[in-house]
């Protein structure tokens, strides 16, 4: 039986309530942490565990915590990023609505470790019902003495605030999130200073993803070494994967990092194979912003070895033949999918979600969307493919926040691996614009 660190009890009836969660061993980690451990000892365990940020960037959580500045007399904050808006990613939603107390427990432990007395959970605004679930869970935990003043008689106080977002993807970027929390327009900040030095209200702040924070309960209970023993290499532990697209069993799966991509797609335990009667064409492995891969490269590395579900293996080969684990938004495409249309669709998203602060992203995302639109609708020009590549290059790396990169990568990678398909749209507009038409030329279907 594969190890489950986050979702072991997720199917227990009533687990969203405090009592059932408690009966399953819930809040023992809070008791252990607050009664028997020092904040530094907790940070040490998290470091040992080697958990990497599950929000997309994969930055080691323990290291982030140890960078937190601790000037005298200045409050420190922990902010949980629950804005989850990346197309293809829906794991935090799943965790919060089913087992809210796991996040609350993680928040208490993490806040205690960081010395924060007021912590925030910034939830994607569209998920109002999840916000109610979290608020109920917080009220329960407070009633039982796990939150509020003098937690478990330790003298430690913690207030947890749930803040709904206003419906902007960009507010998932950590500094835009902080601006939004402060009640301002959600524009990402220029860095440095980083949040660890000047974050919320100019105070030292840690921002972590829901899934990252939720791991801390298990780490406190079982130790950092036990966590690090799970997974593969520097990809320790388990990861929630939001699997969607043309597979038999879409859903959220907790996997031990290091499972081969092939097994994840085809095993009955997980995706259950490409939808019956169809072939595997392409994969977006980590949310809409990571480079798309053709089926053959998704399953095997350039050297022929099996590609694994881990940070290192997915990015093996750089962008030439690799991609990224990102936030774990795993989108599978079969041979009925039009890559041009899909790229346009992603591009439309980034155009719509750009905050508009910096010129390459504000103007470039719209431009790419329009060019992709005209290719898809049969009005493409010969030079459009090169134009798209050039525009994506002029955005990439030149913006304030990574949304610019996130908009550029899907376009650049789709052209890198599926150029013929774009060319076909330009050369055969009347054929390509027939309803349901897809490119049938040479490609590696599996």
């Amino acid at each position: 039986m594969a190890i489950k660190i986050l979702t072991e009890h997720i199917n227990v009836p009533g687990i969203e309530s405090f009592d059932v969660y408690r009966k399953q061993g819930g809040y023992t980690a809070v008791e252990k942490a607050i009664k028997t451990m020092t904040p530094d000892a907790i940070v040490e365990e998290v470091k040992k565990a080697g958990v990497r940020g599950r929000g997309g960037a994969g930055f080691p959580m323990g290291m982030k915590w140890s960078f937190l500045a601790k000037p005298e007399g200045v409050p420190r904050y922990l902010v949980c990023n629950a804005d989850e808006s990346e197309p293809g990613t829906f794991k935090d939603h799943y965790l919060m609505k089913n087992i809210p107390h796991l996040l609350i427990e993680g928040m208490i432990i993490s806040s205690f470790a960081l010395g924060a007395n007021k912590s925030f959970i910034y939830v994607r605004g569209e998920l109002m019902y999840v916000i109610h679930i979290l608020e109920k869970a917080i009220a329960e935990a407070k009633a039982k003495g796990f939150l509020g003043k003098n937690i478990l008689g330790s003298g430690y106080d913690l207030e947890l605030v749930v803040q709904p977002g206003g419906g902007a993807y960009i507010c998932g970027e950590e500094t835009a999130l902080l601006e939004s929390l402060e009640g301002k327009r959600g524009n990402p900040r220029n860095k440095p200073p980083f949040p660890a030095v000047k974050g919320l209200y100019q105070s030292p702040t840690v921002v972590n993803n829901v899934e990252s924070i939720a791991t801390t309960a298990w780490i406190v209970n079982n130790g950092g070494d036990a966590y690090a023993a799970v997974g593969i290499g520097r990809s320790t532990g388990t990861k929630l994967i939001s699997a969607s697209g043309h597979i038999n069993k879409p859903g959220v799966y907790e996997i031990e990092l290091g499972v081969p991509v092939e097994d994840f797609i085809y095993a009955d335990e997980w995706c259950g194979g490409i939808r019956t009667g169809h072939k595997f064409k392409a994969l977006v492995a980590g949310g809409s912003s990571v480079p798309i891969l053709p089926a053959n490269l998704a399953l095997t590395l350039a050297n022929g070895e099996k590609r694994l579900m881990s940070y290192e293996s997915l990015s093996d080969g750089g962008f030439a033949t690799g991609t990224m684990l990102g936030s774990g938004g795993f989108i599978v495409f079969d041979e009925t999918s039009c890559i041009v249309r899909n790229t346009w669709n992603f591009s439309r998203f980034y155009h719509h979600e750009s905050c508009g602060q910096c010129s390459p992203c504000r103007e470039g995302t719209g431009w790419m969307e329009k060019v992709l639109h005209r290719i898809e609708y049969g009005h493409g020009h010969q030079q459009d493919i090169d134009l798209l590549v050039d525009v994506s290059k002029k955005i990439e790396g030149n913006t304030i926040c990574p949304l610019g990169d996130a908009a550029a990568w899907p376009v650049a990678s789709a052209i890198r691996h599926f150029r013929d398909e774009f060319q076909w749209h330009i050369d055969h507009p009347s054929e390509a614009t027939q309803p349901g038409a897809v490119y049938k030329g040479e490609m590696a279907l599996v």
């Binding site: 220029n190 602060q357 010129s359 390459p360 504000r362 103007e363 719209g366 431009w367 002029k394 030149n398």
Partner: protein, 361 residues
């Protein structure tokens, strides 16, 4: 008590060394060297706290982070916000990647910007026009519709033409920091963002007129001056008056005997150093209102400075030679003998900075 001077740090920008105080930004260090190596800035505005970082016009490459850690920085950085370190080596016009990125920025800024300088009030003193002249191309690859807006009167003195706005946020910072109440801001997001007052409201307080001076383009213009003249036909003169509200130090813009416009004084970088009040700006348009100091020292960025747009005044640098190469195609179509850089004596290009485009002899 002894004056403790901070230890100066040494930076090299485009092969030229300069010493500055710790904490200085790359852009300010480059400005200290002079206009030849100062990166263009479309959003940064020294007097406005928090400005910068948005337009990305000032991107440079840091070839060595510091003497202690000489690794290059992985991405181009915004020079207006990046502080120098001792021993830092910066490439500005000498790096083709930087030139290429700036090319891209001009193109992006012009995508949704009308190309009708002949009917724009800002022409001749427009940062975007200058930037495009220095780093732009003569053709456009954009064929879609541009976003357009109706002109909007925001109060009795100021007109907003959002179509020309490049969203530098300077006017927002100005209203925050110079006036006692900001009533406008950026609404919407992405390329649908716009400067506005939400419910149409007048921007009206003693210092509101300064937003006109800080606007790098023709998006915010002076209604008392709009279309009265072209800036290159006017003569700027420094003057002052005893003003109870502001410093009273201004530039008067004359056409013949008439003062047709009053603005704050701008420095070499086109930045206002002392903001002025609306009374000085809009109500005092008679020579007798003022004590005349003398002709304004015209900054390099003004079209009034002789031959601003003549190609042979171009500084011999990598970027300009690249630009010169770009000019070639238009020779077939138009008489551009003025622009004929090829005919410049070769000595002009002799002392160029190390070029990454051409192989060493």
């Amino acid at each position: 008590m002894e004056d403790v001077k901070p230890q100066l740090v040494k930076v090299t920008i485009d092969g030229i060394e300069v010493e500055v105080e710790p904490g200085t930004t790359i852009l300010q260090a480059a400005r200290k060297i002079g206009p030849a190596v100062a990166p263009p800035a479309m959003c940064y505005y020294q007097p406005l706290k928090g400005s910068g970082g948005k337009c990305r016009a000032c991107l440079v490459r840091v070839a060595a982070g510091s003497a202690k850690d000489p690794r290059p920085m992985p991405k181009l950085v915004a020079s207006c916000l990046t502080a120098v370190q001792d021993g830092m080596v910066v490439e500005n016009e000498t790096n083709p990647q930087v030139i290429d990125a700036r090319n891209g920025i001009v193109e992006f800024l012009l995508l949704n910007h009308p190309l009708d300088c002949p009917v724009c009030d800002q022409a001749g003193e427009c940062d975007l026009q200058n930037f495009a002249f220095d780093h732009g191309k003569v053709t456009t690859r954009y064929e879609e519709d541009r976003r357009t807006f109706e002109k909007q009167d925001i109060g009795p003195y100021i007109q907003l033409h959002m179509t020309r706005c490049i969203l530098c946020y300077r006017c927002v910072f100005t209203a925050d920091q110079i006036t006692n109440k900001r009533v406008h801001g950026v609404l919407g997001r992405g390329d649908a963002s716009e400067i506005g007052t939400y419910i149409e409201k007048a921007i009206d307080n003693d210092f509101s007129g300064n937003v006109i001076d800080v606007c790098p383009v023709g998006a915010l213009t002076d209604k008392t001056y709009r279309f009265k003249n072209r800036v290159w036909f006017t003569k700027p003169v420094d003057a002052h008056r005893d003003c109870p509200t502001c410093s009273g130090k201004v530039t008067l813009w004359y056409r013949g005997e008439d003062v047709i416009r009053v603005t704050a004084r701008k420095n070499e970088w086109n930045e206002v150093e002392e903001f002025i009040c609306n009374t000085c700006r809009f109500d005092k348009k008679k020579t007798s209102d003022w004590t005349i100091e003398g002709p304004t020292k015209v900054s390099r960025s003004s079209v009034i400075s002789a031959n601003k747009y003549r190609a042979d005044t171009i500084k011999p640098s990598f970027g300009q030679r690249l630009a010169a190469a770009e000019y070639k195609p238009i020779h077939d179509e138009r008489d551009t003998s003025q622009l004929d850089i090829q005919q410049l004596p070769p000595e002009r290009f002799a002392k160029v900075l190390p070029s990454a485009m051409e192989p060493e002899p």
